[in-house]
């Protein structure tokens, strides 16, 4: 993992590109030109590189938040109010790219899905959207049937606690799978997490219905 990251960081330093505005040398991935300070177009890098965090399933979320908000401050529209239209447009493109990266990395399910996509492109072209393991579907069917029968807040709370506990187990297992470079295992766990995530949403809806 560290090697991969070191590589991409090196690559970013080595490939100097000319700034679109002043033609001065520019590290790929830089938000601003160090010579003329013009905002640059979003670099074709993955979400981890864009937000400057290590490519791994375990992410330091408070650090991710700080990094994201710091970058967004630098791209705030107020700072571009008097700039040329091209700079305004580029700053918006950068802000959109950062949003995509942040939305993907802060959520464990989206992060897992994305990481499988990055690491498993060769082995798993479909990503984690095919169910290889029937037990995932059997579990999903049983959970949903149980939820359908639930008619009291106590039962719903119990189901919510169970689902939450299962999600925590899957997150722990996912972390191990990614650390061990077991992409297929991670993919199966991600598929399971998709159903558990859906289940949590359904439990919330059931609570709302019961309260209404």
């Amino acid at each position: 993992m560290n090697e991969v990251n070191a590589h991409s960081a090196d690559a970013a330093k080595q490939t100097l590109k000319p700034c679109w505005s002043c033609k001065g040398p520019l590290a790929a991935g830089a938000l601003f030109c160090s010579t003329c300070e013009a905002v640059q177009p979003p670099a074709p890098v993955d979400h981890f590189v864009r937000l400057g965090v290590e490519r791994a399933f375990e992410v330091d979320v408070p650090a991710l938040d700080r990094r994201y908000f710091d970058l967004q401050r630098q791209l705030h529209p107020d700072r571009f109010a008097t700039k040329a239209p091209k700079e305004k447009a580029l700053s918006q493109q950068q802000a959109t790219a950062l949003n995509d990266a942040y939305e993907t990395l802060k959520d464990p399910l989206k992060r897992a899905d994305y990481l499988v996509h990055l690491e498993g492109v060769g082995v798993l072209p479909e990503g984690c959207n095919l169910v290889q393991d029937q037990s995932i579907l059997i579990e999903a069917m049983e959970m949903r049937e149980k939820l359908m029968m639930a008619d009291s807040m106590d039962t719903l709370n119990a189901i919510q606690r169970e689902t939450k506990a299962e999600i925590d187990d899957v997150l722990t297992a996912l972390s191990l799978a990614f650390k061990g470079a077991d992409i297929e295992g991670a993919c199966q766990l991600t598929t399971r997490l998709k159903y558990l995530d859906k289940m949590m949403g359904e439990v919330r809806q059931a609570r709302a219905r019961l309260l209404a």
Binding site: L137, I138, A140, M141, Y195
Partner: protein
């Protein structure tokens, strides 16, 4: 976007909801899912000694289009032979329900479910079947 009246009818009055004995020798069960939307669909067929599907049941947790697609399939397969039922294409389902493009995958799921149920039944009765469930994916694209 307006959904067709056929789709709304199947969604509001789903036919053949329920389940049959999984382990029965004359029952075939197909369990399929679409993780991207968290859908899960179970479709079962009960086949008489003449090879005719005499009953079908489904249970689907998913969107309206997934429910309608599986409901429609249970209606269609009743009275058909197992092989005739295996010829149902997702495009037929999508056309009947006038599914919008973003919901075509729901009809694919229903086709996968009936194929899986037939495979399960044939497996139980010792008939082999080489028809790949994945083929229907191509039809949707």
């Amino acid at each position: 976007m307006a959904y067709s009246k056929e789709l709304i009818d199947h969604y509001e009055n789903p036919r053949n909801v329920g389940s049959m004995e999984d382990d029965a020798g004359d029952v075939g069960t197909g369990l399929v899912g679409a993780p991207a939307c968290g859908d899960v669909m179970k479709l079962q067929i009960k086949v008489n000694p003449e090879g005719i599907i005499e009953d079908a049941k489904f249970k689907t947790f998913g969107c309206g289009s997934a429910i309608a697609s599986s409901s429609l399939v249970t209606e269609w397969v009743k009275g058909k032979t197992v092989d005739e039922a295996g010829e149902i294409k997702n495009t037929d389902i999508a056309e009947e329900l006038a599914l919008p493009p973003v919901k075509i995958h729901c009809s694919v799921l229903a086709e996968d479910a009936i194929k899986a149920a037939i495979d399960d039944y044939k497996g139980k009765t010792g008939q082999t079947d080489t028809d790949a469930v994945g083929e229907s994916q191509d039809a949707a694209e």
